[in-house]
Symmetry: C2
Subunit: 334 residues, 2 copies
Amino acid sequence: MTKKKVTSMDVAKLAGVSQSTVSRVFGSGANVSEKKRNQILAAADRLGYQPNAIARGLITNKTKMIGIVMRNIQNPFYPEVLEKFYTKLAEKGYHLIFMNSEHNLVEEDEISHLIEYHVDGVIITDALLSSSAVKRFLKNDIAVILFNRYIENSNYSAVFCDNYFAGQEIANYLVRTGHKHFAFISGPLETSTTMDRKKGFEESLAKHGFFDVAVEIGNYSYESGYAAAKTLLQSKKQIDSIFCGNDITALGAIDAAKSLGLRVPNDLSVIGFDDISMASWPSYSLTTWKQPVDAMVNSTVELLMNEMNEEEKKASIHALPGELIIRDSVKDRL
Amino acid sequence: MTKKKVTSMDVAKLAGVSQSTVSRVFGSGANVSEKKRNQILAAADRLGYQPNAIARGLITNKTKMIGIVMRNIQNPFYPEVLEKFYTKLAEKGYHLIFMNSEHNLVEEDEISHLIEYHVDGVIITDALLSSSAVKRFLKNDIAVILFNRYIENSNYSAVFCDNYFAGQEIANYLVRTGHKHFAFISGPLETSTTMDRKKGFEESLAKHGFFDVAVEIGNYSYESGYAAAKTLLQSKKQIDSIFCGNDITALGAIDAAKSLGLRVPNDLSVIGFDDISMASWPSYSLTTWKQPVDAMVNSTVELLMNEMNEEEKKASIHALPGELIIRDSVKDRL
DNA sequence: ATTATTTTTGAATACGTATGCAAAAAAGAA
DNA sequence: TTCTTTTTTGCATACGTATTCAAAAATAAT
């Protein structure tokens, strides 16, 4: 039960070689004779040697760690995202430092931590960066990708679902199925995500001659969807369809409608966004817009890898389409 | 736009002191005169200095990183757990390396990564360790706490909900409300969690003279709950109540019952486990056993802190009670 | 004032690895 | 064989910090 940590020096001594050679076996994989390599591996195995990633990080200036700062992790969409990022990055040899942010702007001291730990890159989901934060990352040579948000004309790459397009398509679909009285339950208005969905939705409706969209502002939670739908449905307005900013909100809206004695989709059509697994549950069978999570994750990782290697980090914006998943929460009213 | 990283040496130079003194200001907080401290802080601020946690980790042999390996992150119970661990540990100055495991036993190479990065401690949720893994952590002086699982007579501390007690209480409750025909939808049988719940449930029922419990084996997913309930309800057996291994499973079971034209709770009582947020949604209004997540997380972190500081890591097992949350999925049949 | 005590400081070193460089060994060419 | 070329190896050093030790400065005691 040796308490002392075993280092490359110990391995070197046991194998009768220099520390450099041990390093070459476990690191760069540079030329090492087959004989010595075997001696070294045997010695390492016997001693239970594991390279010290911290020491390696210090000398190489690459930690192989990626910071991932998330928000709204309670929204089932994000655990899925987290899992996919983990899998994708693990297979490339990267590790995840997880942070949970509660604010629309990632806080300065959260950024400090990422810088202190010299992460090679950062993925930010569902949140933005102040311009001072931008500078700090840049100065410390840390690549950053925004996921599901973007900043126009910034130096930051971003990957997200094409929300504007999706909003349009959803409007088209509702019109095509004979709806006439529309409502939208949004997320917080300061997010590009929600604004783009709203814009696409409203503009497309306007093109069809519908200018009156009832809007309620929520916060992407079940409770806010429930409350917003109740408000909408209890108002004097006539409403035959609600487009919800995300699925959780939509589920809340459906339950609110039910609680008022309305039947979905017969009395009210509801459409969501994300396509979380619960959307397919029979109780809800929610028609929704599927975010192309796999493509988004892959794209994000790819961008990250590029930016970590390149000198000049030229920002690029990737808007991926997604698709409408038709289930049973929208009725054809024609 | 300086590309070179700024180090404590740079700060020292600018402030006209030695590197040691800078280190003392940002590190131990040892005696430093007020005057020099201010000079140093000013210089650091001007240069945008951030201590390098990697270098610090190398010399102190404390990385202030905790590995958290999770499973079933798609089960809404776990994002909540993750968030709470993050918050609790962040306020103590620790960072989280997130790993997603897919197996009942954490894999050897996942452990290797944690050792390479010299995490100070590890939290493992919903999974176990092989005995060789145990040795490796021990040898590398890494504290480990199991969360929601335990190994009998091991050197590992564990924190979990007292599942045996909960199973008993749930049985008592169902008996008290006049049920006579019981079923249990379990998780995988190799988990202590599910077995303890089952044992408590069955033993308590037996005490009341009920020896026949229909059991279906699931995997803690919605789909498995749906399928298991369907099997149970379509069998010739008469069943008036189902205890489900967790909430997600219970929701699946409820939907299965509905799909067969049964009404919950009138025709069938369903009871869950966890008390995830969805359990309180009006569509389900699930009676369930609330795991004391806050207490469990606090207890885990406390244990971890102790074990990281003590020489002799004596294992301790903490079973926390939890409580029955009564909603509307169980009917009083008396 | 002088001495004793405490506080503050800097020089030197260590942590465990990767890597440039030159020497040594091996392989190939003649 | 002898000379070139290539491959393999070890030495020495660097990464950025914390910390021991002894010297210096400041403070207290006499």
